[in-house]
């Protein structure tokens, strides 16, 4: 599963993307954020306010309770500021 990071989430995690294989207990997007945050200090910092971070699965916005099963690309980013 590919994970992408954007804007300050990318800066804090310290990379733009990575490949991960979360364990079976990681079911939802929220679970995945907790699992990523527990890996290292940089990710912990990136996800410290998990409630402001948005997620997308395969190019569609999803809520934290969305299941990650079957996803090929998951992205994490701050609220959008385009336009």
């Amino acid at each position: 599963m590919r994970v992408l990071y954007f804007a300050w989430v990318r800066e804090r995690v310290g990379k733009a993307e990575e490949s991960i294989e979360p364990p079976a207990g990681v079911v939802t997007v929220g679970d995945l954020m907790s699992w990523l945050a527990a890996r290292d200090e940089q990710s912990a910092y990136a996800f410290e306010n998990a409630n402001v971070i948005r997620a997308a699965i395969d190019h569609r916005h999803v809520r934290p309770d969305a299941p990650i099963k079957g996803a090929s690309e998951i992205a994490f980013f701050p609220p959008m500021t385009g336009g």
């Binding site: 609220p79 959008m80 385009g82």
Partner: protein, 160 residues
């Protein structure tokens, strides 16, 4: 009907878009064009430039979904959306949304709807450069509220 969605690093030629909007349909009576411009200040602080980061692939998909929704809500005849990414200088156009319809109400509503959604749903992130360094722009609650007003009039989505 022509839908044009373009993400580009290059400057936007707003003038040339206007001319293309009425092509191909004699029934077009109204064109509304919105251009969002890089101001020379952000929250009262002078800025040197903006840098827009985007999520390639998702941006196009997300914009296309909202254009589709706009076309279901209003009788739109042509739509053009051009959004820049990369470094943008004050005075330059960041985004252009143009809608064409037979009548003005639909053209105004669709352009306003698309802008509200671009602001809050399209995966772009602005970073400002000023004398104090670079900083990510915070999302505005007013933009969320603006996008939210379109939800009231559409069928509620099923709870998941």
């Amino acid at each position: 009907m022509t839908v044009t969605i373009r993400l580009q690093r290059e400057t936007i030629d707003a003038a040339s878009v206007a001319a293309t909007m009425i092509r191909g349909d004699d029934g077009i009576g109204a064109v509304v064009t919105f251009t969002g411009i890089c101001r020379s200040d952000e929250n009262g602080q002078p800025i040197a430039a903006l840098t827009l980061e985007h999520y390639p692939g998702m941006v196009e998909a997300e914009i296309a979904r909202h254009v589709e929704e706009a076309c279901q809500r209003w009788p739109i005849l042509n739509v053009t959306i051009i959004h820049r990414y990369g470094r943008i200088m004050p005075g330059e156009v960041i985004v252009l949304v143009a809608t064409a319809s037979s009548h003005r109400e639909a053209a105004f509503a669709a352009a306003s709807f698309l802008m509200d959604y671009l602001k809050t749903r399209a995966p772009f992130w602005k970073q400002v450069e000023s004398a104090e360094g670079t900083a990510w722009v915070d999302a505005k609650a007013t933009d969320d509220a603006a996008a939210e007003r379109w939800s009231a009039s559409r069928p509620r989505q099923r709870a998941k």
